[in-house]
């Protein structure tokens, strides 16, 4: 079935989708209903009060207050994505100094810092096999920067859960170190908030960047959240000189359509689903345990504390060497079984996610991988 020249996308309805980029952004039916209703351009502006974040019909202002509370922060603004939230903070803070980031950060953190004119320093991960970030290395990083530049960095960034290994870093420990050094702390929660409970105050975060389309069951476009702690609003949410209701860092109004409404419609479901995070972790651990019965090894911290799973899979790589479909065999074998989300052609190392799957679906995924691997 086609929509004009576009192919119908039925990956969520017809398959089990394991793509880590997509599982946490799988929409709720309420989100899709909101998207259907608010799909037209500038639909959010029917009752404009001069800026997106003060709009009360629909109640964006009320929603942002609820989101701040949910994240344990004091103020929030909608952004066009997590990267825009990170960039907003970096741009507001930067005077051309430096930033200390974790070595597992997403590329968008790095290009945001570069665009904001910050010199980037990294806390390296600990290498094979777990690639962990050690929170205590932030102290060492701060001292190194001070030695090299004469000043501590203007900002520290931690990727709470990285997109490569799905490692969960002890953000509270990093927050404590940042607070001890009086370095503002930006927590990137693209893979955590919306999936698991986050309390910015307990963590000691000054800023939290979130991804609606990655982890808050939102769709209909890109959507993010920037939440901040009391005391930063004059700097980070500063309005334009001639436009007193328009925050500079979101260029006045960020997401002006269906994606923000999708985020709002999914929010009640998100508040409930974060309470079931332990169950999501159990599913990930179960799958790893099953897959490691054959020549497959999970890479990253063990045991898993997140649904994003990176695997080293010599078993499939060996089969690919003699298979007529070569490296593509795994993709097609899985697709024939109703499972997608893997990059076609990959057999040696790949990432999958069990987020939001039922136990029945997770068991079926495990059985399928084992069957293909000859287990």
């Amino acid at each position: 079935m086609n929509i004009g020249k576009l192919e119908l996308r039925d990956r969520e309805e017809s398959f089990i989708n394991l793509n880590p980029l997509q599982t946490g952004g799988r929409t709720t039916s309420d989100a899709r209903k909101a998207i259907i209703s608010y799909i037209d351009g500038y639909s959010i502006c029917d009752w404009c009060k001069g800026a997106l974040h003060i709009t009360t019909e629909p109640d964006i202002a009320g929603f942002l207050g609820e989101v701040s509370d949910f994240l344990g922060m004091d103020y929030a603004l909608p952004t066009n994505g997590c990267r825009e939230a990170k960039y907003g903070v970096m741009h507001a803070i930067s005077t051309g100094g430096s930033i200390l980031c974790d070595g597992n950060m997403h590329y968008s953190s790095e290009v945001s810092a570069e665009r904001a004119g910050l010199k980037i320093y990294k806390v390296p991960n600990k290498g094979e096999p777990e690639y962990k970030i050690n929170p205590e290395d932030y102290s060492e990083g701060f001292e190194l920067i001070k030695k090299e530049t004469g000043k501590y960095p203007e900002l520290a960034l931690l990727t709470h859960v990285d997109g490569e290994y799905g490692n969960v870093v002890d953000a509270k420990e990093v927050g404590k170190i940042c607070n001890d050094y009086s370095v503002p702390f930006l927590l990137n929660t693209a893979y955590s908030s919306g999936r698991m409970e986050i309390d910015g105050k307990k963590i000691g975060a000054d800023f939290i960047a979130c991804s609606g389309h990655k982890s808050w069951a939102a769709g209909g476009g890109n959507i993010g959240i920037l939440a901040i702690k009391e005391g930063w609003q004059d700097k980070v949410f500063k309005p334009g000189a001639n436009w007193k209701s328009k925050p500079l860092e979101i260029l006045g109004c960020s997401s002006r359509g269906a994606s923000l409404l999708a985020l709002m419609a999914s929010f009640p479901h998100v508040k409930e689903r974060v309470k079931k995070w332990d169950e999501e972790v159990k599913k990930a651990r179960y799958l790893v345990n099953e897959l490691e019965k054959i020549d497959i090894k999970q890479i990253g911290e063990k045991p898993k504390n997140h649904d994003l799973i990176k695997l080293d899979t010599p078993v499939y790589d060996n089969i690919a060497k003699t298979h007529k479909k070569k490296g593509y065999f795994l993709y097609y074998e899985l697709k024939d079984r109703g499972i997608i989300g893997m990059k076609a052609g990959r057999t040696r190392k790949f990432k999958i996610s069990t987020y939001g799957l039922s136990w029945e679906q997770v068991s079926y995924v495990a059985e399928s991988f084992l069957e293909i691997g000859g287990g």
Partner: protein, 62 residues
């Protein structure tokens, strides 16, 4: 509510019912083996859509 508004609301109601059905396909992918409750939900959705179709049919036929 005037004639057209009512028809429009019914149309949205059907679109939303379709989304509820779509949710069941998502939950049960890839084989869509439905349990008794899911079967009941699907049949209720279909019944509601049929009733809505009849309502619109009646309105536009007058």
């Amino acid at each position: 509510m005037n004639f057209m508004e009512n028809v429009v609301e019914i149309t949205f109601d059907m679109a939303f019912l379709i989304e509820d059905m779509r949710e069941i396909w998502r939950r049960t992918a890839p084989f869509h083996k439905l349990n008794e409750e899911e079967k009941k939900q699907i049949l209720t959705i279909i019944d509601s859509i049929k009733k809505n179709c009849d309502l619109i049919s009646d309105r536009v036929s007058k």
